[in-house]
């Protein structure tokens, strides 16, 4: 076995949606230090929003990321609505969930098929992947198109949508345009199920981590943007209490704030945490598929979060029974004015 100190360093991580550097120091074969540095320059969003109208918050914060703008638009909108005490009707929250599904579909397929699958198959990138498995890449691009279309039809633009606002939307999306997406979504569902089987055959490193999982948990649905914050250690708090239970701090080597529990412990969020804490909210057939693919609730192998991402995308496609029927009917009811106007005496 090798003795002495070795340093492994990747200066630009090409498999993440952002700019990061990773450094590991080994003594012999033991890791003694690891550093994950986000060197994306600081942009001071929180500070720049001060003194501006609350209506600017969603569009400005969405510029944090062009791949997941909806996360910021919905997050900022909900924060403003909560501060204003606005009640948001179900038609709006449904439509938000739908555009969020579009974002998940396009973002997850980018992550699973185009960024991570090449690594599992020992290939340089998605172009190499297309040479050995053309249909996998074609399916990924088709699904990405479907997700983008969903965002575009509801949001007016697939990157940094313009139709969203604090309180809801500027204009209801045309019903026929939403309905026209159904065949694409059905094709996406079949593709997603096939991809889950394909991904299940990857060789996952054996790694069981003792991790605290933290995710949202909703009364009815698999959670996206609604619910309480729960953990695998039994935490169950409203979103407003986040700051009492978690804290953010800095490390010298990274521009990104790091988060910990109030006691200083690490925790994991994201698809694996959400799956583990909400498996019972998945439709039975999707959960069964995930289990056949090797993703069982309570999974502690972070590499398998790839499967959670795929299962989740399957779920999104598989929501077909819920919409466009009842969902569209609910949207149509408040067709012309899909937003909550500011109270007259604001």
């Amino acid at each position: 076995m090798a003795e002495g100190t070795r340093v492994l360093q990747v200066d630009a991580l090409a498999r993440v949606e952002g700019e990061g550097r990773f450094k590991v120091r080994l003594e012999g074969n033991r890791v003694v230090e690891s550093q994950f540095a986000i060197f994306e320059p600081p942009r001071y969003f929180e500070a720049l929003l001060r003194g501006r109208s609350f209506r600017d918050a969603p569009d400005i914060t969405s510029r944090i990321c062009g791949i997941c703008p909806i996360a910021y638009i919905v997050g900022a909108s909900k924060a403003m609505e909560s501060a204003l005490g606005w009640e948001i009707p179900a038609a709006i929250t449904d439509l938000r969930r739908l555009i969020y599904c579009g974002e998940w579909i396009q973002s997850h397929v980018l992550h699973t098929h185009l960024l991570h699958a090449p690594d599992f198959l020992g290939l340089a990138d998605s172009l190499e992947l297309a040479k050995v498995d053309r249909s996998l890449v074609e399916n990924a691009l088709a699904a990405k198109r479907t997700g983008n279309r969903l965002m575009e039809v509801i949001g007016g633009r697939s990157v940094h949508p313009v139709n969203t606002r604090v309180g809801g939307f500027f204009k209801a999306p045309p019903e026929d345009a939403v309905r026209a997406l159904v065949p694409e979504l059905e094709a996406g569902e079949a593709m997603s199920i096939a991809a889950l089987e394909r991904f299940a055959a990857f060789d996952y490193p054996d790694l069981e981590m003792d991790t605290l999982f933290v995710a949202l948990r909703d009364d009815h649905d698999y959670p996206i943007d609604e619910g309480r914050i729960v953990s695998s250690a039994g935490l169950d708090i409203p979103v407003e209490a986040f700051a009492e239970h978690f804290e953010e701090h800095q490390v010298p080597h990274s521009n990104a704030l790091q988060a910990a529990t109030a006691e200083g412990g690490r925790y994991l969020v994201g698809p694996l945490a959400r799956f583990n804490l909400n498996a019972d909210r998945l439709p039975g057939d999707i959960l069964a598929m995930a289990e056949r693919a090797g993703l069982v609730p309570g999974c502690r192998n972070p590499f398998r979060s790839l499967l959670a991402r795929r299962s989740r995308s399957s779920t999104r496609f598989a929501r077909r029974p819920v919409w466009p029927g009842p969902m569209l009917r609910r949207i149509r009811r408040s067709w012309t004015c899909l937003y909550v106007p500011a109270p007259a005496t604001a």
Binding site: P41, Y44, R50, R52, D59, G66, V162, N163, H249, Q250
Partner: protein, 209 residues
């Protein structure tokens, strides 16, 4: 990554750290054609709002240990530092414009990119003017077209994500907004978003406090 030189480099993002100051010189040296894409690369981005503010105060407002943050006091467009051959506006850019630019450069011709205002796009599309019909503040008359008439067609005023059109009369628009009863802070903020540091917008927004 294969070493350069490259035929075309697409550069996104602004210059806001010392590393970026050096890297852009290298990118220029390695590129036959350099195309800047997006509001950050062409105007400095939303983060350029810090150019007129106290940088140390902004750091302290966001970071518990501001001394760990190493960044320039300004965020500036690429063209402030190196020669830029073509630019694509927008936050985000328009996909059609990107394809047109790459196709044109491969074919050795000039890309055909609109240089008229967003306002003209509304007229071409037959979209009712939101400012005339509802008094909604709109930057369409002074913003470069190219997005495809996205905001006014859903009843929303243009928020200027493609930046100022060349020769735009921003003061006349601001005066009209004042006449409509829009308060100075709102006019200032409307001009202070993703292309806030573009001279035509920066200059006018300063007049409104």
């Amino acid at each position: 990554m294969r070493p350069g030189p490259y035929d075309i480099s697409l550069v996104e993002g602004s210059i806001s750290t010392r590393e970026e100051l050096e890297r852009i010189q290298q990118v220029r040296q390695d590129s036959r054609i350099l195309v800047t894409i997006g509001a950050c690369a062409t105007a400095g981005g939303i983060q350029a709002l810090r150019n007129t503010r106290d940088h140390a105060e902004l750091k302290a407002a966001v970071y518990p240990t501001p001394s760990f943050i190493d960044a320039l006091d300004t965020s500036t467009p690429i063209a402030d530092h190196v020669h830029v051959d073509h630019e694509l506006r927008g936050c985000p850019i328009d996909k059609g414009q990107l394809l047109e630019t790459i196709a044109a450069l491969i074919a050795g011709r000039r890309p055909v990119i609109p240089d008229y205002s967003q306002c003209a796009e509304c007229k071409l599309a037959g979209t009712a003017c939101v400012m005339v019909t509802h008094g909604t503040p709109c930057l369409g008359p002074v913003t470069q077209g190219g997005c495809g008439n996205l905001c006014p067609r859903i009843g929303r005023g243009c928020y200027g994500c493609f930046g100022p059109k060349e020769g735009a009369n921003v003061r006349a628009l601001a005066d009209q907004l004042s006449t409509l009863g829009v308060d100075p802070a709102e006019i200032r903020d409307l001009l202070s978003s993703f292309t806030a540091a573009a001279p035509a917008f920066a200059e006018e927004s300063r007049r409104h406090g």
